[in-house]
């Protein structure tokens, strides 16, 4: 069946200035401008955001679920990267 909907775009919303852009969903549109306008109408009808990103879904590179274990394994045994790994004398109040 032919596709009459245009490509898929992913939508990211920034709630307030200074905050990260968060993925909120996706939509179909035929070009950038239409994608942005559709995103506004679909995802920010209640002031959910002050800024939007739209990006073609096909341009997203994602890690694969099968490789999850081995892919993230290097971070698994490095507890020394966390502040709680280190002892600080009780007498030192702020650090």
């Amino acid at each position: 069946m032919s596709d009459s909907q245009g490509p898929l775009w992913e939508v990211f919303v920034q709630k307030k200035s200074g905050q990260p852009f968060v993925h909120c969903g996706n939509l179909h549109a035929f070009d950038k401008e239409m994608a942005l306008q559709n995103a506004r109408d679909l995802y920010t009808r209640r002031m959910e955001g002050m800024a939007l990103w739209v990006v073609l879904s096909e341009h997203i590179v994602a890690s694969s679920p099968e490789d999850q274990g081995s892919f993230f394994e290097p971070a698994n045994d490095k507890i020394f990267r966390h502040p709680t790994f280190y002892q600080v004398p009780d007498i030192i109040k702020h650090m």
Binding site: D3, G6, C24, G25, L27, F30, D31, L42, R45, P65
Partner: protein, 314 residues
């Protein structure tokens, strides 16, 4: 090399209440079940715009008109969230729309009933959206990630739908005797069709078993129906309305729950198989809207193609 049993991995994820995502392996029947359920849900949102859209030009005040416009626009948006959630399972939007337009796909039986008066529009917001929310709150914990996330957004947006419906109903129930009668008539018309929205009784529900096993649904049709009756009865009493169509409805002190009569399941089967009061009208309206949008889709496709060529040439 160790062979990983994908089905075991899938089951293990479900057992830990982890979400299944589009790229994860899933049993073919899980995928099929989701495509059917999510696309039906999407179609219900879109077809659900028709009985209410019918009243936008006839809303009794400017306030009620803007509220109704906002609600109908929300329903359109909900359809879009759900269509892309279904698309993530490998079915195209065009295929789903075609299934709707040919009558192959189903949508909620409730939208095959007419909205005869303004009180019916109020009753839809209050009862139909109320029942939908009850179902959708449960589906926020559905095991398929994109479906669950769409439900979270939808529930957030829909809480106003039910409240505005109840507010409109309150206005009528506490208005003139004639208005109160309209409110009562609307309740009479929509009570049983609303109870049907939760689907057939558990003993006869063909799709429920797997849906609960796979954590697509967390509660059964009968459980949700009972909760809806329990929640709605005090709201009916506040309005000073009654349910004359069910003489069995009564608070059961021992069970701490309402006893009530089942809707007419023969009628339900008739309506979902195409013989409700408005099935033909709804499908005709959808088909015409789609046909009337043909030139827009053609123009947009041609435009996108030309853009691509210009980009390549540059």
């Amino acid at each position: 090399m160790e062979t990983i049993n994908l089905e075991n991995l899938f089951e293990a994820k479900l057992a830990k209440n982890e979400m299944i995502e589009p790229k994860d392996w899933m049993p073919e029947n899980y995928r099929k079940h989701l495509i059917r359920q999510i696309s039906q849900h999407a179609h219900s949102e879109i077809v659900g715009m028709l009985p209410e859209g019918n009243w936008i030009t006839r809303a009794p005040s400017l306030r009620s008109k803007i509220v109704l416009l906002a609600k109908v626009q929300d329903e359109g948006g909900h359809g879009l969230y759900l269509y892309t959630a279904a698309e993530s399972l490998g079915i195209s939007r065009d295929q789903m729309l075609s299934d709707l337009h040919t009558g192959k796909a189903k949508y909620s039986s409730i939208f095959n009933y007419p909205t005869l008066t303004w009180a019916d529009v109020a009753a839809i917001g209050w009862l139909v959206d109320g029942a939908a929310i009850m179902n959708q709150v449960m589906l926020q914990r559905s095991s398929y990630g994109p479906y669950s996330r769409a439900m979270v957004r939808i529930c957030k947006e829909e809480s106003f739908h039910q409240r505005q419906g109840y507010e409109a109903m309150t206005t009528m129930a506490f208005g003139s005797a004639e208005q109160k009668q309209m409110a009562q008539d609307a309740l009479n018309r929509f009570w049983f069709p609303t109870l049907m929205m939760f689907g057939p009784p558990d003993s006869e529900s063909p799709n429920s078993d797997n849906a609960v096993k796979w954590k697509i649904k967390r509660e059964t049709n009968d459980e949700l129906r009972q909760r809806f009756v329990n929640q709605t009865m005090p709201q009916i009493e506040y309005l000073g309305l009654v349910i004359p169509t069910d003489s069995n409805i009564v608070w059961n002190e021992q069970k701490q729950t309402y006893d009530f009569s089942e809707p007419n399941w023969v009628e339900f089967k008739q309506v979902i198989s195409g013989n409700g009061p408005c099935n033909k009208e709804r499908l005709k309206a959808r088909n015409e809207a789609h046909k009337n949008g043909e030139w827009v889709r053609e123009a947009a496709t041609a435009y996108a193609k030309r853009q691509k060529e210009t980009d390549l040439a540059a």
